[in-house]
């Protein structure tokens, strides 16, 4: 086998090994590369900064543990931003999940962020967690018409909603001013839009994994989606914008190196392909 043929058909295990080395290296020895700010992270920050005072916001954890590497950093950064503004703008934040592992992921976030002591927000007054809403799109539809009957008790303290002042004026989708969804797939934005945005006009902003980004484009162009946080790179940019570099920024060197490897492999593969072709190998 000639060297060109070998380059054209590198064994999978060597590519995996290279990928592993390229990702591991910057995690062990951070490169500290500059991070240019893209339009999506800017738009996300501006949208959150411009949320009107006294707004009631649903944060929906529409992902499980498998989505954590890409979505967890943006969830932490967004919750930091929202909770920081809660006191000055009197936000009411309702945390739900249409994925069954969502509440457990949010538990991890609570352990890390400790909102009561860090941001001074009061559970049951400034924010509340209602837990998993089963039933996918049906559950979303049912939640829109009657939130209390879908989740008679909260998730964290398991007490009736009537005991929490925050829930006094939150009954249906009409009482919600914004939904922030972090999602990896179905149920996700299309289901939310069908059951909340179209009938009630509820605005949406969404943080999603990289592979979902192309599918979000039509919703962004139509105005049904107001802002999009597309994957880890934008999360890192957002962390820098809000002055709180965290998990995403620390992972961006690894993203850069893994993307560099992909580009190198594509270039090498095509050079070998054309060289073989010109020699009549293929």
């Amino acid at each position: 086998m000639s060297i060109l043929e070998k380059l054209e058909n590198v064994e999978r295990r060597y590519i995996y090994l290279l990928a592993w080395v390229f990702v591991l290296f910057p995690l062990l020895f951070p490169l500290g590369l500059p991070i240019p700010i893209g339009r999506e992270s800017k738009a996300w920050k501006e949208y959150i900064e411009n949320i009107p005072s006294d707004s009631t916001i649903i944060v929906s954890m529409d992902y499980g543990v498998s989505g954590m590497p890409e979505l967890y950093p943006m969830t932490v950064a967004t919750m930091h931003h929202l909770w920081t503004d809660t006191a000055s703008k009197n936000f009411k934040i309702v945390v739900i999940a249409s994925w069954n592992q969502g509440p457990l992921v949010f538990d991890t976030l609570l352990d890390q962020m400790n909102p009561a002591s860090t941001y001074g927000v009061v559970y049951g007054e400034d924010w509340i967690e209602l837990g998993w809403i089963p039933g996918s799109e049906t559950g979303m539809a049912a939640l829109a018409t009657d939130m209390w009957s879908q989740t008679p008790k909260d998730f964290l303290e398991n007490r009736p909603l009537s005991e929490y002042p925050i829930m006094e004026n939150i009954k249906t989708a009409e009482d919600i001013d914004l939904v922030v969804s972090f999602e990896t797939g179905t149920p996700g934005l299309p289901e939310w839009l069908r059951q909340w945005n179209t009938p009630y006009g509820t605005p949406f902003i969404v943080g999603c994994i990289g592979v979902s980004v192309p599918g979000m484009a039509p919703y962004l162009a139509s105005g049904q989606l107001d802002a999009l946080m597309p994957g880890l790179t934008a999360s890192g940019e957002y962390e820098i914008l809000i002055g709180r570099p965290g998990l995403a920024v620390s992972g961006l060197d690894a993203v850069s190196m893994s993307h560099l490897l992909v580009v190198l492999l594509v270039v090498v593969g095509n050079i070998a392909f054309f060289a073989s072709k010109s020699k009549g190998v293929n």
Partner: protein
């Protein structure tokens, strides 16, 4: 009488009524229909929750059989069954005896087993994508060359390593995202929506019977 009860028309009528109960409130504001629709949604949620038990029973049957017959890799099934039973029992919502989501064993398994396993499964994608990009991104013809160029631009535009020195990549990526990608995705969505409407109409009219009796003739 029993023949009439077994008639294929009955499930078709039930399907039609249930479907219309969900569709009509979307377009018209009729309080009685709205109420019926809400009740039906509650029923659906109950059925969904019951389906979880069916799933657990099914897993038990499949892996139980595998373990009993010592089929290939039956050891993994033992691990799965043990984890399933422990998570199910410790996660039962009976706080008075220390069970539930605050149970230390449940939390330990979630944080130290499920979370790293879930992250690992997702991370494996990076290896597959790298390998797939290397094999698939070959400029064999004009169409493949277009995908190769646009794909490479998008990959590079997502890495600060490239965008910090070649900022025009971000502009190029934005154009790809806003114009060809949006146009294509719109086409895909509209095609899928038209297909879904056609399927719904066929189902409502009783022409599509794939969900009944395995799709056989009545």
């Amino acid at each position: 009488m029993s023949e009439k009860l077994r008639s294929i028309e009955i499930p078709i009528i039930i399907t039609a009524i249930c479907t219309l109960l969900q569709v009509i409130p979307y377009y018209f504001n009729i309080p009685v229909i709205d109420q019926a629709s809400a009740i039906e949604r509650d029923w659906m949620l109950l059925i969904v929750n019951m389906a979880v038990f069916v799933g657990v029973i099914s897993i038990g049957q499949v892996h139980g059989r595998k373990i009993m017959r010592r089929r290939d890799n039956w050891e993994y099934s033992v691990v799965l069954m043990v984890a399933l039973i422990i998570m199910a029992i410790t996660g039962l919502p009976i706080e008075s005896i220390g069970l539930g989501l605050d149970n230390p064993i449940y939390n330990f398994l979630f944080i130290n087993v499920m979370t790293p396993l879930g992250s690992t499964m997702y991370s494996i994608l990076a290896f597959f994508i790298t390998s797939a990009a290397y094999r698939a991104f070959r400029a064999r013809n004009i169409e493949a060359a277009l995908i190769l160029v646009s794909g490479t631009i998008v990959v590079m535009s997502n890495a600060p390593l490239f965008t910090s020195s070649l900022p025009f990549l971000i502009t190029w990526k934005n154009w790809i995202f806003d114009v060809p990608n949006t146009a294509t995705m719109r086409g895909v969505m509209m095609g899928a929506a038209l297909g879904a409407i056609a399927l719904a109409v066929r189902t409502l009219m009783g022409i599509e019977r794939g969900y009944l009796r395995g799709g056989g003739a009545d």
